[in-house]
C-alpha cells in the first residue's frame, strides 16, 4: 500500500523527489529548449532551407565553420570589440560619473549635451565614426565605448545623487574630508548603480557591435550575418544569431559571477 502510493508519487513528481528542486528547475529549462528546437525542426520540414534551414543543417554548418576556424574568428572579433569598448567605457565612465555627480557646475555644463545625445542611438554615428576614425578596428570599439560610457556615467551620477546624506554627515563627523567622503561613502554607495549601468551597457554593446559590423566590417558576427545574404546562406545567419545569443549569455554570466565574487558586500 505504502509502496504503491510512493510509486505514484514518484511518477507524478519525478524531478522534485529524486533530484531536488534546483536540478528539476534546470531540467525544465532544458526540456523547454528541446521542445523549441523540435518545433523549429517541424517547421523547417514545411518550408524551404532558404526560408528556414533545419536545426540539423544549421548544426552541420556550425560544425563546418568551427572546424575551419571561421566561426571562432567571427566570435573572437565581436567579443574582442565588445570587451575592449565596454571595459574602457566602464573604466572611464565610473570616475566621470563620480566627478559629474559631485560637482554641480560640471553637471550643469554637461547636462545639455547629455539630454541631447541620450536619444540618439550609437548606430547613427557609424558613418561619422568611419569618416573620422577610418574603417578599422578602432571605429567599432569607439562606438561601443561611446554606448557604454554614456550609460555607465549616467547611472553613476544617479548613484552619487542617491547617497544617503546622513551617511555623509556621519562620515564627516568621524573625520572624513572631501577625498575620504568620495572613496569611503560615495563610491561604495554608488557601486550598485555602476553595476546596473555596466550590465545594461553590456546589452547595448551587443546591439551596437552587430550594427557596426553590418555597416563596416569584414570580420565579426555582424559581418557574417550580413555576408550570408550575398550567398543565400540563411544557415549562416542562424549560426550567427545563435552564437550572439550564447556569447551574450556567457558575458552576462561572467559579469554576474564577478559581481558576486568581488562586489557582494556592496549589493545591500
Amino acid at each position: 500500500m505504502t509502496d504503491a502510493t510512493q510509486g505514484t508519487m514518484m511518477k507524478r513528481f519525478p524531478f522534485n523527489l529524486r533530484l531536488g528542486p534546483e536540478l528539476s528547475k534546470i531540467l525544465i529549462g532544458v526540456a523547454s529548449v528541446i521542445c523549441g528546437v523540435l518545433l523549429w525542426h517541424i517547421a523547417s520540414l514545411y518550408t524551404s532551407p532558404l526560408f528556414l534551414p533545419s536545426p540539423v543543417s544549421v548544426g552541420q554548418t556550425a560544425l563546418e565553420m568551427a572546424s575551419d576556424g571561421s566561426l571562432f574568428l567571427a566570435i573572437g572579433a565581436s567579443a574582442w570589440r565588445i570587451g575592449a569598448g565596454w571595459a574602457l567605457g566602464v573604466i572611464l565612465g565610473v570616475p566621470l560619473g563620480l566627478f559629474m555627480g559631485r560637482f554641480a557646475v560640471v553637471r550643469l555644463i554637461v547636462d545639455p549635451y547629455i539630454e541631447f545625445f541620450r536619444f540618439i542611438p550609437p548606430i547613427a554615428f557609424v558613418t561619422l565614426a568611419v569618416i573620422w576614425l577610418g574603417p578599422g578596428e578602432i571605429t567599432k570599439i569607439a562606438l561601443i565605448f561611446y554606448t557604454t560610457i554614456f550609460i555607465v556615467t549616467l547611472n553613476t551620477i544617479a548613484g552619487v545623487n542617491a547617497v544617503n546624506p546622513l551617511r555623509l554627515q556621519a562620515a564627516r563627523s568621524m573625520g572624513a574630508g572631501k577625498l575620504a567622503e568620495m572613496t569611503t561613502v560615495i563610491f561604495p554607495s554608488a557601486v550598485p548603480f555602476m553595476l546596473t549601468g555596466a550590465r545594461i551597457a553590456m546589452g547595448n554593446s551587443f546591439l551596437t557591435v552587430v550594427s557596426a559590423e553590418i555597416v563596416s566590417a569584414q570580420t565579426g558576427l555582424g559581418a557574417m550575418i550580413w555576408t550570408a545574404r550575398n550567398f543565400g546562406r540563411t544557415d549562416w545567419v542562424f549560426v550567427g544569431i545563435i552564437s550572439l545569443g550564447i556569447l551574450g549569455y556567457l558575458f552576462d554570466r561572467a559579469f554576474r559571477l564577478a559581481t558576486q565574487r568581488w562586489f557582494k558586500r556592496f549589493l545591500f
Binding site: N164, L166, R167, Q169, A170, A171, R172, S173, M174, G175, A176, A180, T184, V185, P188, V191, R265, F266, F268
Partner: protein
C-alpha cells in the same frame, strides 16, 4: 579616555532661508553633563543638535571647550536616530574602526580598540556581521560604539532609542548611563520621552514651539542614580515637564492650524 568638554551656546539662531527655526538660544553645558532636550515635534531639536555637530551654519556662536564650532569634528560624536547611517557594506567591526582608519591608526591597534568598544556595547558576538543582519537595537549599539571609539568629548544623540521597543530601550538606557559614567563625556540627548529624560539627564531643557523656537525652561534633575521613577520627586518633575511641554505642543498645533486657539479663561 577623553574627558567631557563644556558646550556654550551664545545667542544662537538657525534659519533655513527665510524660515527662522531657532532664535536666540543661550545655554551653558558643564563638562561631563548629561543634557536632555525636549520639545514639541518640529520645534527644532534636531536642528539645534545638528548645529552643535557643525552640520549647519549658525548666527551667534557655539563653542565646545575653547573652540568655536564651524564644521564637524572628531571631538563631537553624533548618534543618529536611524541606524541607516551605519555603512551597509562594512561589517560591524569595520564600521566601528572607520574613524580610526581615517585617522591612520595601524591595523592592530585599530582592531584592539574596536573590539574593546564592541564589547562595551555588548556586540562581541556580532562583530563580523553586516548591519542588515542585526536587529534595530543591535544596530544602535553598533552606532554608539562607532562614535565612542573616537573618544569624543561630546556625544550628540538624536532620539537614538526612539525606534526601539520598550524593553530594548530600557536596556540601552541602562547601558548608556553606565557608558556615560565610564567615559565621562558630555552628552546632549534629544528625546520625546519624559521618563527617558528623567532617567538619564542632569538637566532637562524644554524648548518652545517653533518658529523661532527658544528655551522655555530648564529643569535640574538632582536625584541620585539609578533613579526610581516611582519616587515622589520624580513624579513631581514628570508632571511639571509634561505640563510645560504640553503647553508648547498645544501652541505648535495651533500654529500648524491643527487646533483652534483656546479662549483664555
Amino acid at each position: 579616555m577623553a574627558k567631557g568638554a563644556s558646550i556654550k551656546l551664545d545667542h544662537v539662531g538657525i534659519s533655513f532661508g527665510d524660515a527662522h527655526i531657532v532664535s536666540n538660544v543661550n545655554l551653558d553645558i558643564r563638562p561631563g553633563e548629561f543634557i536632555c532636550l525636549l520639545g514639541p515635534s518640529g520645534c527644532g531639536k534636531s536642528t539645534l543638535l545638528n548645529a552643535i555637530a557643525g552640520f549647519l551654519p549658525v548666527a551667534g556662536t557655539i563653542s565646545v571647550g575653547a573652540d568655536r564650532v564651524s564644521k564637524p569634528g572628531l571631538d563631537r560624536g553624533v548618534v543618529f536616530q536611524s541606524a541607516e547611517v551605519l555603512f551597509p557594506w562594512l561589517t560591524i567591526r569595520e564600521n566601528v574602526e572607520y574613524g580610526l582608519r581615517l585617522a591612520g591608526v595601524p591595523a592592530k591597534e585599530r582592531r584592539e580598540k574596536a573590539d574593546h568598544f564592541i564589547g562595551l556595547v555588548g556586540l562581541a558576538h556580532a562583530a563580523d556581521r553586516f548591519p542588515k543582519q542585526l536587529s534595530g537595537g543591535m544596530r544602535q549599539r553598533a552606532q554608539i560604539a562607532r562614535v565612542l571609539i573616537n573618544e569624543p568629548s561630546v556625544v550628540l544623540m538624536d532620539e537614538p532609542f526612539g525606534a526601539l521597543d520598550a524593553q530594548t530601550r530600557e536596556v540601552l538606557q541602562g547601558e548608556l548611563d553606565r557608558i556615560w559614567r565610564e567615559t565621562g563625556c558630555t552628552i546632549v540627548f534629544v528625546t520625546h520621552d519624559i521618563w527617558e529624560a528623567l532617567l538619564l539627564a542632569d538637566r532637562v531643557v524644554v524648548m518652545t514651539a517653533g518658529p523661532s523656537a527658544g528655551i522655555k525652561t530648564i529643569e535640574k534633575i538632582d536625584l541620585p542614580h539609578p533613579r526610581d521613577q516611582g519616587s515622589a520627586e520624580c513624579l513631581e518633575l514628570f508632571r511639571r515637564l509634561r505640563d510645560d511641554i504640553g503647553e508648547e505642543v498645544k501652541r505648535a498645533l495651533v500654529q500648524q492650524g491643527l487646533k483652534k486657539e483656546e479662549p483664555v479663561t
